[in-house]
């Protein structure tokens, strides 16, 4: 069957709430309104106001409250209406949740899930379009995952809820309505996507395209285009930004010898930068036939006008061009 990403997340939440009565959902408009993007649809009806809780618009407060609740072995799932608003609460996420277990010498774990749509969403301009992949993934103690398909989305939210650590789930608003096939396994209550493992979405031999979240789709499109040109692309869907699956990245880079990274976020100190560093510092480097190319969002606050917005984001031509560059450009002797 096919299932939209929105429903896949909701199904994952539902199954985990059924499985463990300590799981509760908290956030703005998650209950009676069913979620600003309807991700939590039906859960308030099913679990009531004890476990599906509408909050005031006070991110710092309810994030801290969730952290405290998690100390009692409850499992809060905190929805940020968009991850942009987590900036108001980022001290609680990073200084509170992420560092907690370590600071306490292992006494006090913080099993909490943060989730919500991350990064670009059409026509919402600079304050509502920031990608937080790089920032959060830089923080030891936090796990950071980012699904692409419905199977990913369900499996990762379930993994996040079962994890005894703070996990940030970076979803993508423009993916909520997209449908993907769900395998039989993925439909089962036991479907969990392990955190820390990337997925090879498409095998290939000539170039590796590494991405996460929505642009994985763009990578797959680009791979199709390149196939018609006789270039075989391997597409890696990172799924987890921390821990980052260096093994898969390195193995694929060694295999194909060419790497293109692709993300919607800003370039400087982004996930692509980190991939460049990994390739530099490991023996993958010796297998590169061309330097890595990065394709990222433009280095500007997101503009509103449609044309500018398009120019600020990686498009198919950009990815294709980058792939082609890696085949022109090659290592210095």
């Amino acid at each position: 069957i096919d299932m939209a990403v929105r429903e896949a997340i909701c199904q994952g939440l539902d199954e985990e709430m059924e499985r463990d009565e300590n799981v509760f959902i908290m956030g703005e408009e998650v209950a009676q309104y069913q979620g600003a993007y309807k991700v939590t649809k039906g859960l308030f009806q099913k679990y009531g106001d004890k476990r599906v809780i509408d909050t005031p618009i006070t991110e710092m407060g309810f994030t801290g409250l969730g952290v405290g609740a998690s100390f009692h072995d409850l499992k809060p799932v905190i929805e940020f209406m968009t991850i942009n608003f987590s900036m108001q609460a980022i001290d609680q996420v990073v200084n509170g949740a992420a560092k907690q277990f370590y600071m306490s010498g292992g006494d006090l774990a913080c099993p909490i899930v943060f989730r919500g749509p991350n990064g670009f969403s059409a026509g919402t301009a600079a304050q509502h379009s920031q990608c937080f992949g790089a920032w959060y993934s830089s923080c030891p103690g936090l796990k950071v995952v980012s699904p692409y398909s419905s199977e990913d989305a369900k499996g990762l939210i379930k993994a996040a809820i079962r994890d005894p650590n703070p996990v940030m789930v970076l979803e993508h608003e423009l993916m909520y309505g997209i449908s993907f096939p769900m395998s039989d396994e993925a439909q089962s209550k036991d479907w969990v996507v392990p955190i820390g493992q990337a997925k090879i979405e498409r095998e290939g031999t000539d170039v590796t395209i590494i991405s996460f979240s929505k642009p994985v789709g763009l990578a797959l499109e680009a791979a199709e285009v390149m196939a018609t040109k006789g270039v075989s692309c391997e597409v890696i869907n990172l799924l987890s930004l921390r821990p980052l699956d260096r093994k898969t990245i390195i193995a694929s880079a060694k295999k194909t010898g060419r790497v293109v990274s692709l993300e919607q976020g800003w370039p400087q100190c982004g996930i692509s930068s980190e991939i460049a560093a990994i390739l530099m510092e490991t023996d993958a480097f010796n297998y590169l036939d061309a330097p890595m190319e990065r394709v990222t969002g433009a280095d500007v606050p997101m503009p509103y006008a449609a044309d500018l917005e398009k120019a600020a984001l990686p498009q198919l031509e950009d990815v294709v061009a980058a792939i082609e560059r890696t085949t022109y450009r090659s290592m210095a002797a």
């Binding site: 309104y33 005031p56 618009i57 950009d318």
Partner: protein, 380 residues
């Protein structure tokens, strides 16, 4: 026949921690009342046009409409000097209009055109007009309030001791009102006696959540605790004007900040994606429209004071509708921003508006290989 009339606003106010109160009558000239009506009706028509254009897919993203709340912005505008500072939330089209925008520049921004208020770069939530002391437009709930306090700080910083100060108002919603940073700003304003008005537009919902579900204090004008508060009938533009005159006088004189609560209502859903009828019933909306509509109220005032006849008002409405249409057409003719705008206005080169040139980033990812490498804005 005098061109001034006196209107009764008795019962439009409640006070908290105040020894004085606004007047219970308001005097208003024909010109002024007409001006208010014109502005309010233009707001109404503009927002309805936005609704249509949004549905026609000419406007994208979020779009928060102000119809129902027009008396608030109009009354503030009438009470304020042009040098008084104003900042509000994402629900800002009509404040942008009041503070020196044309309908075409507002709607043009929503169309994402270069002649839009923010050159098509801001969209619905991001209007600013530095020359007219209008500072947004803020997409982040609550964030505009400390920023507004910064205007109050600047007003005090620049004023001469003993002189009346210009004031600053930050408008925010009932949903925003419990944001911690608002309290942080209130504490500083109170400590430092800043001429700051915390203006809560209580339209009874923060998105789909009614005030009783998101705020433990529902008398918002008392939220300042020891800070004086004033509740105003926000559907009555004359009461808003008088209340804000009072607040401006109080705060501008160095008495410190004030909390002002405007009792108002939004007719539309929260934004264009919200039908606005799941968490409140249609009767409530219809009842408010039929009994409390701020435009009907002004019209009644115009007629009662014999400033205008019903027919004259109709003619005027017709004219405004036409003007709005014309402005929208004009907005549509504006071109979209050229590509180079993408890299313009990232950094300012001085404090004049529109300073700063195009700053090509050092490295641009472009389909065209030739365009992809830059150093200092030039190809490598």
């Amino acid at each position: 026949f005098s061109s001034n009339a006196t209107f009764d606003v008795e019962g439009s106010f409640e006070t908290h921690m105040l020894d004085t109160a606004p007047e219970t009558t308001v005097e208003c000239s024909k010109e002024e009342l007409l001006e208010m009506f014109e502005l309010m009706y233009t707001m109404r028509r503009m927002e309805i046009t936005c609704d249509n254009e949004y549905k026609a897919r000419n406007i994208r993203g979020f779009c928060h409409l102000y119809d129902g709340q027009e008396a608030v912005a109009t009354g503030i505008n009438a009470a304020f000097d042009p040098e008084d500072s104003w900042i509000t939330s994402y629900r800002c089209h009509c404040v942008a209009l009041a503070r020196g925008g044309s309908v075409s520049s507002v709607v043009g921004e929503l169309f994402g055109n270069i002649d839009g208020y923010s050159r098509g770069k801001g969209g619905s939530m991001h209007f600013y007009n530095k020359a007219n002391y209008f500072f947004g437009g803020a997409g982040i709930v609550g964030a505009q309030v400390p920023v507004g306090a910064g205007s109050a700080f600047a007003n005090k910083y620049k004023s001469k001791p003993g002189e009346k100060m210009n004031v600053s108002v930050a408008c925010f919603g009932d949903g925003a009102a419990n944001q911690g940073q608002i309290w942080e700003a209130a504490n500083m304003c109170n400590l430092w006696n800043l001429p700051m008005i915390f203006c809560i537009e209580n339209n009874r919902y923060g998105m789909g959540t009614s005030i009783d579900r998101h705020s433990s204090i529902q008398d918002y004008y008392k939220m300042g605790n020891e800070i004086p508060g004033l509740r105003i009938d926000g559907m009555n533009v004359l009461a808003v004007k008088e209340g804000m005159r009072f607040a401006k006088e109080y705060c501008g004189s160095g008495n410190g900040p004030m909390y002002v609560e405007m009792m108002t209502y939004r007719y539309h859903g929260h934004s264009m994606s919200d039908p606005g009828t799941t968490y409140r019933n249609r009767d409530e909306i219809a009842f408010t429209r039929s009994t409390k509509d701020p435009l009907e109220f002004v019209k009644k005032c115009l007629v009662d004071a014999e400033f205008m006849t019903a027919d004259e008002i109709k003619d005027m409405e017709k004219k405004i509708r036409k003007d709005v249409q014309k402005e929208v057409l004009k907005a549509k003719e504006s071109p979209v921003p050229p590509h180079e705008e993408l890299f313009k206005h990232i950094f300012a080169t001085n404090l004049e508006p529109r300073s700063g040139g195009i700053e090509y980033p050092p490295h641009i990812r472009m389909p065209n290989y030739e365009n992809s490498f830059w150093i200092d804005g030039k190809k490598e």
